[in-house]
Structures are given as structure tokens and as C-alpha cells.
């Protein structure tokens, strides 16, 4: 049995495992096993490839370096920073496809459609890498804010790059059809320019997109990294790359659409319009906030029969999930009904809050989605908003001119009392003011979420 046969056989097994893995990943009780199944597929694909390689020592060295860095990042990173980690890993996958295509370009001695394929792989791989890098910087808040000038420059620059891409591909098509004299030096120069252009395209693409939309962007970039791998697979005639790449590309696209839908944003808006801060239509929120002390908050909560906890990014930053759970338990002992209202996009990523609360041992059944909790909002005595902002902003239902109008929210403003835990009066990730803070039934408990809740917990214990 020759090794190519064995290799292809291994790739088929790997592909089947990837398919089952992805399927299992989309159901709650099989998700963990699904990830394991897919990793076994990856192991098989790598092992059968390693049977025959050019320089085993160098390859092993490179793999050990990569595995070391990857594992270190994955295991050491705080749970709160996982979203940006995913973005970074995704970018590296794109970069790898980018290098792959570059290396294949060097091998080519004639001009044909394979060259166009090489260009496409370079482009998608490059956009994935630089785009993911920007997403990483935005999520870790190294890159903050946005300026209209920069956004406009980025958009025009993107148009310019698109023209250049068309010219570069046109050059290859005309040359291969014999309509243009084949000039290898020129093609090489174009290719180098193309490498740079594709990296810049990723920057220009992601820079104007608002931080609140990053999860959808990362999902799309994830889909693109799959497509880059699939194209690289066609270049190298490698079926494992094609199948696995396409699976990720296509399922990633579906996930992107599902996520955009759960935020009530369409893709065109996210990528080409952004959150427009239209100052004309946005009503200036007036009024005063009513601060409250932890001691008084305790009195309100002690008397409450039902409490809803709505966590957001603030809880993640303060690492407050464990004290939140403790508070929830104490409230329950006090005869109070406690539930958690989880907005799908609270935090920096869908499911971010579920991960954190699961870490703190909060039972699954107590986590409610907006559609379950909104209808009974009037019956809830106290809502505790912990560092959430945009997902509880009533502008989304009340102000048609607001940039976030139409986004499904947790309608906490309809509860009897709302207590908002917040560090300061700064606006949320979307940069929109929140009228909830000024409502009659709202009290603001300023300070670090963890400290504030710890105070409440100690009040309860006394």
C-alpha cells in the first residue's frame, strides 16, 4: 500500500470526524465531545501527512514552537479575554494560508489560472490576518474610539485596493490568454504589491467597524480563514484542506448570519454603515441620576420577592461572577426568587456571560433569554444590572432615531426597581447614551462591581 493511498484514506477519516465534530458542537450536551472528535480528526490528518515530509526535524521544531505558544496563550489567558484570543488564533490561521500561497507563487513557472487562485488565496489569507489583528486590538481595547476622518480614509482606500486587485488579476488573465506579453519581472513586482495590498485591505476593512459589532466581524473572518485554507488546498491539490476549509467557510457564514440576526443588525449595515451617530435624531437625555449606597440597596433587596440579575461586560471585567453567585444564593435563602437575564450579545461575545456564570456554578436553568424574561418584567421587584449597558438601553425600543433602535434588549426599565452597578457614567461599547440611568425607578450604585456586590453579601450575612 503506497503512502498516498494511506494519506487520502486518513484525510477522509479526518473529514468525517470534522463533520461530526461540528454537528456535535452545535448542541449543548454534546459540544465538549464534539470538540474532542474534531481534534482527533486534526491529529489523524497531521499524522498521515507527517509520514513523508522533506525535513522532519525542522518541521517538528516549528510545530513544537507553535504548539507551545498556542497552548500557553490558550491556558493562561483569563476567561474574560477569550474573545480576543479567538480573534488572534483565527488571524494566525489566515497568515499561514497567506504564506502557503506565497510559497506556491515561487514555484510557478508559467502564467495560468493557478496564478489567479494564488492571488485569491493571498488576498483572503491576508485580509483574515490583518483584519483579525485589528479585531484583537479593538476587543482588548488597545485600539479605542473611532474618528470619522479615519473611517472615510479607510473606506476610500478599500475602493482603491479593489481597483488594484482587479488590475492585478486582469494582468494575469490577459497574459495567460496571450493578449499581453508575459513579463515575469512585472508579474513579480505586482505580486509583491499584491501581498502588501491584501494586508492593508484587512486593516481598511475592519478599522471603521464599531467595537459592538466585533463578534460578527470575527465570525466572518473565521469563515474567510476557512475559505483561504480551502483555496490553498486547491493550489496544493490537498483534499483535507479543501473539505475542512469549506466546512469552516460555509458553516462560519451561517453562524455569522445567525449572530447578526440575534443582534438585529444586517450585514450590510455592519460592514458598510456602522453605528451612525446621528446627532439630529438622538434626543438629548436630560435629568439626574439617583445614586444609592450599598446599605440602602441591601434594604431594597432584602424586601424583594423576585430579583433578576442582568450581567454585562462590567461583570466580566470585575471578575465578579463568583460573588454574584454568592449573592444569588443568599437571596434564595431569604426566600426570594432569583433568575438571571442573559442577553445573547452581553459582554464582548455571544455566550460570554453564560461561560462566566457557568464557571461560578450558576445552574443552567436559571439563565433566561430576553424573550422569556421580558413578558414577566412587570412582576419583578428588583432588577440588578451588573455592568451591562447597551443590552438594557430602552432607546432600542423607544427612540426610532437611535443607532441601536430595533436591537432586542432586556427591558429592565419596566421592572419595579432597577439598580444599576456601574463604574462611571461613561457610555457603552456602542457609544450611545442610556436613558435607563435617568428613569424614575432607577438607582445607580457606583463603584467596582465586585466590591459593590461583596458589600451587599456581607450586609446579608450580618
Amino acid at each position: 500500500m503506497d503512502f498516498i493511498f494511506l494519506q487520502e484514506l486518513g484525510y477522509i477519516v479526518a473529514a468525517i470526524l470534522f463533520i461530526f465534530g461540528l454537528k456535535m458542537l452545535s448542541k449543548e450536551d454534546t459540544a465538549a465531545r464534539g470538540n474532542l472528535v474534531s481534534s482527533v480528526g486534526m491529529l489523524i490528518a497531521v499524522l498521515v501527512t507527517l509520514i513523508k515530509v522533506v525535513d522532519p526535524y525542522l518541521i517538528l521544531l516549528a510545530m513544537i514552537i507553535g504548539a507551545g505558544i498556542g497552548s500557553l496563550f490558550a491556558l493562561k489567558v483569563k476567561m474574560t479575554s477569550i474573545p480576543e484570543m479567538v480573534a488572534l488564533f483565527n488571524g494566525f490561521g489566515g497568515l499561514s494560508s497567506f504564506f502557503l500561497a506565497w510559497s506556491q507563487f515561487i514555484n510557478q513557472s508559467n502564467v495560468s489560472f493557478i496564478l489567479i487562485l494564488t492571488y485569491m488565496t493571498v488576498f483572503i489569507g491576508g485580509v483574515t490576518f490583518s483584519g483579525s489583528l485589528i479585531a484583537f486590538f479593538k476587543l482588548s481595547e488597545i485600539l479605542k474610539g473611532s474618528s470619522n476622518l479615519l473611517n472615510n480614509i479607510s473606506r476610500w482606500f478599500l475602493v482603491f485596493i479593489c481597483f488594484f486587485v482587479l488590475i492585478a488579476i486582469g494582468q494575469v488573465i490577459l497574459s495567460s490568454a496571450g493578449l499581453l506579453a508575459i513579463n515575469f519581472e512585472l508579474i513579480q513586482i505586482t505580486f509583491i504589491a499584491f501581498l502588501i495590498a491584501s494586508l492593508l485591505a484587512g486593516l481598511a476593512f475592519v478599522v471603521p467597524i464599531g467595537g459592538g459589532d466585533m463578534p460578527v466581524v470575527i465570525s466572518l473572518l473565521n469563515s474567510l480563514s476557512g475559505i483561504a485554507a480551502a483555496l490553498a488546498g486547491v493550489l496544493l491539490s490537498n483534499t483535507a484542506l479543501i473539505v475542512a476549509g469549506c466546512l469552516v467557510g460555509a458553516s462560519g457564514l451561517v453562524l455569522t448570519l445567525i449572530m447578526a440576526k440575534s443582534m438585529n443588525r444586517d450585514l450590510y449595515n455592519i460592514f458598510f454603515v456602522g453605528y451612525v451617530s446621528d446627532s439630529n435624531s438622538e434626543e438629548e437625555v436630560t435629568g439626574e441620576t439617583k445614586p444609592i449606597l450599598a446599605e440602602d440597596t441591601y434594604l431594597i433587596m432584602e424586601a424583594a420577592r423576585s430579583v433578576l440579575i442582568v450581567p454585562g461586560y462590567g461583570m466580566a471585567v470585575a471578575q465578579a461572577q463568583h460573588v454574584v453567585k454568592e449573592l444569588g444564593d443568599l437571596l434564595e435563602e431569604n426566600g426570594c426568587e432569583v433568575s438571571y437575564g442573559i442577553h445573547p450579545v452581553a459582554g464582548r461575545m455571544p455566550g460570554h456571560m453564560n461561560v462566566l456564570l457557568a464557571e461560578a456554578n450558576v445552574s443552567y436553568d436559571n439563565l433566561l433569554e430576553p424573550k422569556d424574561v421580558n413578558p414577566k418584567m412587570e412582576t419583578i421587584d428588583v432588577v440588578v444590572v451588573i455592568g451591562a449597558n447597551d443590552v438594557v438601553n430602552p432607546s432600542a425600543t423607544e427612540q426610532p432615531g437611535s443607532p441601536i433602535y430595533g436591537m432586542p434588549i432586556i427591558e429592565t426599565h419596566r421592572a419595579k426597581t432597577v439598580i444599576v452597578l456601574k463604574r462611571s457614567m461613561s457610555s457603552g461599547f456602542a457609544g450611545v447614551q442610556n436613558p435607563l440611568f435617568f428613569k424614575e425607578n432607577t438607582r445607580m450604585l457606583f463603584g467596582d462591581a465586585k466590591e459593590s456586590i461583596a458589600k451587599l453579601v456581607s450586609e446579608f450575612k450580618e
Binding site: F18, G21, L22, S26, E28, A31, A32, N35, S38, S39, G41, M42, A45, V46, T49, V54, L58, M63, I65, G66, A67, I69, G70, S71, F73, A74, L75, I82, M85, V86, F89, N90, F92, G93, S96, S97, L100, S103, P215, G226, A232, V234, N238, T239, A240, I242, G245, C246, L247, V248, A250, S251, V254, L255, I258, P344, P350, G351, H352, A358
Partner: protein
Amino acid sequence: MEIFLLLFFILVLAIFLGLELISKIPSTLHTPLMSGANAISGITLVGALALETGSDLQMILAFSAIVFASINVFGGYLVTNRMLRMFKKK
């Protein structure tokens, strides 16, 4: 040329399969699924392993491609696993 047609055939089939694979998914699993799929896209590692290392430049490219793809694969699976471990019912 024929081999490419066959490869494109596989490509198209795999795309349709991928589109069908995920239809209903609870929002809790959006991030883990994205992360898990991201790890699979590290399959580009398999391509990088088979790269030629004729010239110095190609050697560097192959080496870097393997390093970055390995980060993607190992980091991706481990981070997904870490997330999913927290969902286990206790």
C-alpha cells in the same frame, strides 16, 4: 486540468455540506462553535507540512506557516475545550 475540476467538485460539495451542517444553535454556543470551527481552519497546517523548501525564502515561509498554523490548531482546540468544560452540568 481534470484534477482541478475534480477538486472544485469536492469544494462545491463541501460548501453545501457546511451550509446544511449548522441550522439551529443556541446563542450560548455561538462563541464555542466559532472557536471550534476556527481550530478546524488550522487544517492549513497540513498544507504547510507538505510545502517545498527549495530556496531560503521558501524555507522561511514554510517554517512560519507551520508555526502560525500550529498556534491556531493547538490554541484553538484548547481554548474551545476550556470554554466548554465550564458548561458541563455539575
